[in-house]
């Protein structure tokens, strides 16, 4: 019996997979990583308010520096927001590859169980520059985004190397610079976007709600 099967039997809802790809390098130590941990908690709370979204949204959490799978895909009610610890380098390239591989595996699981899913999201939050080879990762993610395999969002925190991030992120969705440490607003926005996707409301433009927690740099 493959792992994960009972959860699909009890809950066959179409899934909204989300990967949170979080930078926990040394530079994030102190208030930034605390605010980030808190923000992830807010995300869970907000999504759980909507019963349908609570059944649909699945979260995986990957931190890097070093690349660690903190939590594999689980539905939001089983997701436990961890206390993040900041310590390490910023192997962003490796982290991106890992995230895309994890997503492909998850899609295979969905396929073999006959579960449908909406377009997955990969959400990268970083405050620095990659310390490893990132060009191949950037190519792979841009191709995947353009092909409609997933939606990649990059968010930079104060101190980020925005130029590098712009080269990594897909050209039609440039990275956003966070307002200070306002992770809370970021995650509230992410949760309401997830709720919109899982409710599939027609008659609303499926454009994203106004971003109040950061600004898009050109």
């Amino acid at each position: 019996m493959p792992v994960g099967l009972p959860e699909f039997v009890e809950n066959p809802e179409n899934r909204c997979p989300v990967i949170l790809l979080l930078d926990t390098s040394t530079s994030m130590a102190g208030p930034p990583v605390k605010a980030l941990s808190h923000g992830v908690g807010v995300f869970k709370e907000e999504v759980q308010r909507d019963t349908k979204a609570a059944l649909s949204v699945e979260v995986a959490l990957i931190t890097f520096g070093p690349v660690t799978l903190v939590e594999d895909f689980v539905t939001i009610d089983q997701f436990t927001p961890p206390e993040l610890v900041a310590d390490g380098f910023t192997p962003m390239g490796e982290a991106i590859h890992y995230a895309i591989d994890l997503l492909e595996d998850r899609k295979e699981t969905y396929k073999s169980n006959g579960i449908q899913y909406y377009r997955p999201w990969i959400f990268l939050i970083t405050d620095g520059a990659p310390t490893d080879e990132w060009q191949s990762a950037a190519q792979r993610l841009q191709a995947g985004d353009t092909d409609g395999k997933f939606c990649f969002f990059a968010v930079g925190v104060e101190g980020v190397d925005m130029e590098k991030l712009k080269q990594i992120a897909p050209p039609h969705r440039p990275p956003v610079l966070l307002n200070g440490l306002d992770f809370r607003s970021l995650f509230v926005w992410l949760s309401s976007s997830m709720k919109r996707v899982s409710s599939g409301r027609v008659g609303d433009m499926l454009a994203l709600p106004p971003v109040g927690w950061g600004k898009i740099t050109i």
């Binding site: 019996m1 099967l5 009972p6 699909f8 039997v9 009890e10 809950n11 066959p12 809802e13 179409n14 019963t51 349908k52 059944l55 899609k107 969905y110 396929k111 073999s112 169980n113 006959g114 579960i115 449908q116 899913y117 909406y118 377009r119 395999k149 409710s199 599939g200 409301r201 027609v202 008659g203 609303d204």
Partner: protein
């Protein structure tokens, strides 16, 4: 956020006191009022067109097919609400109490937490009742438009209620002006409406028939129809794209086939299977071929009469036409029972089993015939409406309305453990003492016919019998026994044990009679 300006009811002039906010959305806010049975919806931007639409709705409400059993089938606008300046800004509607979202009953995970006991029989009845309500709304000239689980509430009697009625498509019967339905939901939008501007597209009941088909599928199969194993190249398209192409597992040349978790279509009654096939195959791109709400209702009625409880697992219900309990097979195959999760904590008593097994066939004679213009009443599982022993079914005139029920079905939610079975409790308490006496032998035989689930009763009765007979024997032969102390001790001990056993039995009897 509303400031507490003075609101008043347009029809009575009464001042309204908005007490607590229940919900807020892009278009308005819903508030409780000083009347517990009335809610207020206040629009953020009450346009003249919106108000005209509401006025038509207030003046031409559809006939509620369940007014006679005190069930509100739709939260219809009763009257406009005026602000302090006397401008209409919203409307009053009845509160739907004691109900949950449709999601809470069709999703196995949610069902376990909210409404355990809502088994396949209840799901069938909910589906049939829903078809009835949709029929009633169409008869009055309205089209629902935004039918989705979030807009349908259900109570423990399997009686649905539609909310968000102000989103319906409304046609003014006097001026023929059309007020369209402005919103829809992806998984419930038929293919001919995809990509269309909803505010400029008139809809017909045939679009609602598609949505009804999807909702009934959700109820009976606990999942959407347009999903399964993707056998095409590359990645599976999005759920909406699968709908657009008509890829459900039973379409010809479908690239979606039944997956390992798909519940097969043939477990439902053949009439219902045919409805699904007409709705999603022939009716996919040809709206006029979709089964109507009445057709769904008729098919589901047949299906309900064909249902049977499983002998092995009491909360499993399957259709006789399938011939075996699919839920037992599925449990064996997948190691998860989606109805085991919904088993009531108190095991079903034999009395309940008798009711389920005998009253289902009786329903055929109870349901009113389809006289022209007569709207059949909803089928609901309330034992009070079932004929009592003193009123044989054959004496009931066909088409006669159900006797009025002393208790309103609208009750606040109680802990799920007791909730689904309180209806049977009301049956017991409503019986006359004569029928109670008549039922006593049956009840006693029910007690004596112990299953292995009642070792306590066995033990208690055994202690009582042994102690009682021992005490009696000792008492009778007491004078011939030697040490009076020993005799007295034994008698006293035996009587005490007997008393304890009897009290325990009484407690079990009253507990099982509450089931």
């Amino acid at each position: 956020m509303l400031t507490m300006t003075q609101f008043s009811c347009a029809s009575t002039g009464e001042t309204l006191d908005l007490t607590t906010q229940l919900a807020t959305s892009g278009e308005g806010e819903v508030w409780r009022t000083q009347h517990p049975h009335l809610l207020a919806k206040i629009y953020h931007h009450p346009s003249p067109e919106r108000i005209r639409k509401l006025t038509v709705m207030v003046n031409h409400p559809p006939k509620d097919p369940n007014a006679h059993i005190n069930h509100i089938s739709f939260a219809w606008p009763k009257s406009l609400i005026l602000n302090a300046q006397g401008q209409p800004v919203g409307f009053l509607m009845p509160t739907i109490q004691g109900s949950v979202d449709l999601l809470e009953v069709y999703s196995p995970l949610r069902r376990n937490r909210s409404v355990p006991g809502f088994n396949w029989l209840y799901l069938h009845v909910t589906a049939m009742n829903l078809a009835s309500i949709v029929w009633a709304i169409h008869e009055a000239g309205y089209v629902l438009g935004d039918m989705k689980p979030q807009n349908i509430l259900v109570n423990t009697c399997a009686l649905p209620a539609i909310i968000d009625t102000d989103s319906f498509q409304v046609r003014d019967p006097e001026t023929q002006a059309l007020y369209p339905c402005l919103v829809g939901s992806e998984s419930f939008t038929p293919v001919e409406l995809m990509g269309k501007d909803l505010d400029r597209t008139p809809q017909t009941p045939q679009q609602d028939y598609f949505r009804l088909g999807v909702l009934i599928h959700l109820l009976l199969f606990c999942d959407h129809p347009y999903k399964g194993q993707w056998i095409g190249k590359g990645e599976s398209p999005t759920p909406n794209e699968l709908l657009r192409r008509g890829y459900w597992p039973y379409a010809a040349n479908s690239l979606i086939q039944p997956g390992p978790l798909t519940i097969p279509l043939n477990i439902v009654h053949p009439s219902v299977q045919r409805c699904f096939q007409r709705c999603f195959n022939q009716g996919h791109a040809a709206p006029e071929l979709r089964p109507t709400a009445q057709a769904w209702r008729r098919a589901l009625q047949e299906a309900i009469l064909d249902l049977q409880t499983c002998r092995k697992v009491k909360h499993h219900v399957y259709s006789k036409s399938y011939g075996r309990c699919y839920w037992c097979d599925r449990t064996t195959q997948l190691q998860v029972d989606i109805f085991a999760l919904s088993a009531p904590k108190i095991p079903l008593s034999q009395k309940l089993q008798t009711i389920l097994n005998t009253h289902l066939p009786r329903l055929a004679t109870q349901l009113p015939g389809s006289k022209a213009g007569h709207m059949p009443s909803l089928l609901q599982f309330r034992p009070k409406s079932w004929p009592r022993r003193s009123t044989p079914v054959t004496q009931r005139r066909p088409g006669a309305p159900q006797p009025p029920l002393p208790q309103s079905p609208r009750q606040s939610w109680q802990p799920p453990v007791t909730r689904p079975l309180t209806q049977i409790q009301s049956l017991r308490s409503a019986s006359t003492w004569k029928s109670a006496v008549a039922q006593a032998p049956e009840r006693l035989s029910g007690l004596i016919n112990w299953s292995s689930q009642h070792p306590w009763m066995q033990l208690g009765a055994l202690i009582a019998v042994v102690a009682g007979s021992g005490a009696l024997l000792l008492d009778l032969s007491g004078t011939h026994l030697d040490p009076a102390n020993l005799g007295l001790t034994l008698v006293g001990g035996g009587l005490c044990l007997g008393l304890v056993g009897l009290c325990y039995l009484l407690a079990r009897v009253s507990q099982s009679s509450r089931i």
